[in-house]
Amino acid sequence: MDNHKQVRLLDENGIRVDGRRFDELRPLKIEVGTLDKADGSAYVEHGRNKILAGVYGPREAHPKHIALADRAVIRCRYHMAPFSTDERKSPAPSRRELELSKVIREALEPAVMSEYFPRSTIDIFIEVLQADAGTRCAGITAAALALADAGIPMRELVAGCAAGKVDGKVVLDLSDVEDKQGEADLPVALMPKSNVVSLLQMDGSLTEEEFKQALDMSTDACRRIYEMQREALRQKYHVVKDEADKEEATEVNA
């Protein structure tokens, strides 16, 4: 980046460009069951990220030769819409999207009890409608909920959140500017109940101490996101229950 384009990412009080403190998450909005045809779905707004995840399966493996005898094949496609970024992104899958599809699958797969569905597939589709840094993590947050919504047995949910470094300080959940001009990015996905990390990537420059700090910060944030995921899942059934209650009430009134 050119120096003259550089904006100050932290002010004298350590407040970030969007007004957040160093360990503050961007606002999250999570909805479960937003699609009609998918077996499971979820929509996540994480800051300005808008991400839709849909799950189909377990369903018959097609083509047949990909089937595994002892468990379901899990397939994952992470894709960005052409209009999701500043410059139009070609709809053809980029090398970045192919890599992310792989690491996202590997982040979700340990949570899915695929051994219950041998010879079938579970397909996970993640569409980034608007990208604002941290799409892979928000994608994992959404996809884990879509899997749960599809009724697929899971060991637990998976939540994703990145930490990074801007202006020499370790901060949580980088926004677009911070990601582009910051010094490091550390995307993490956590399985919160067993406290294990299933996605870990890093680029930039961090000392060992800064890394430890960033890792602790992001896993802690994943636990907070996990609570929101649970609430969103419950919410869906509250809505269903409210509707059932309403119907019951009308029947009584009639």
Binding site: R95, P110, S114, N195, V197, L215
Partner: protein
Amino acid sequence: MSATRQLSPVARLEQKTVVDLIGKGKRVDDRGALDYRPTTITLGVVEKANGSAQVYLGKTKVLAGVKIQPGTPFPDTPDEGILTVNAEFVPLASPTFEAGPPDENSIELARVVDRGIRESKAIDLKKLCIEPGKKVFMIFVDVYVLDHDGNLIDAAAMAALGALINAKMHAFKVEKGEPVYLEEIMPVPMQNYPVSITSVKVDGVTVLDPCLEEEQVMSCRLTVTTGKDDSLCAMQKGGLGFLSPDEIKQIVSTSISKARDLRAKMLSNVK
């Protein structure tokens, strides 16, 4: 789409042996858990390339070649040269490799090697600018996997770095926006030496530098790339397993000291 891979029948048969050994603190090739396999690096093995290096990591064999040519810079970095890393899993290297467009594994490998070089600022890309916004030098690093016996990422990263250190180009001056080449030969301007160290977790035990048998039965791997001042510049977890935060911190710390040794050894061999 990215999909779960089938474990080869041979790996299934070997699985128990490998896991049992690691459980007893041993390894299939008699190494200690934190031992790296013998590593040799030979520079300049392909004369027509600007730079090249062949790395043996145990029986794993990787060749990297560097080609340099003028091209157009990216709009967001108009005054910087361009680095491109590509990896080819050549079908002769393993019974599981197939000819065809790069699959997710070779793309992942190339992108992890790329991140190590790019994020550690190993190449001073500003020195490769010919005319800002118009013309810069493009550095292509092509990694050729020739024999796959595990830990391709580390071997590829080392070969790529070796090929860059080995790379020579004509010094140039700029006249009317075109490079005019001089007699003098110059190296690619290097300012850092990133080294990748990969560990795998097998049955709850972490071992360094996995051979193929170990890689096939691993629960997951973690690659940690560090630059010359021990700073972390790239990381990648792979595989279907998971790691606890403490395991990660332990691996990172081991990888940093291991990378320091390996870098010193490699640079003393190369220079």
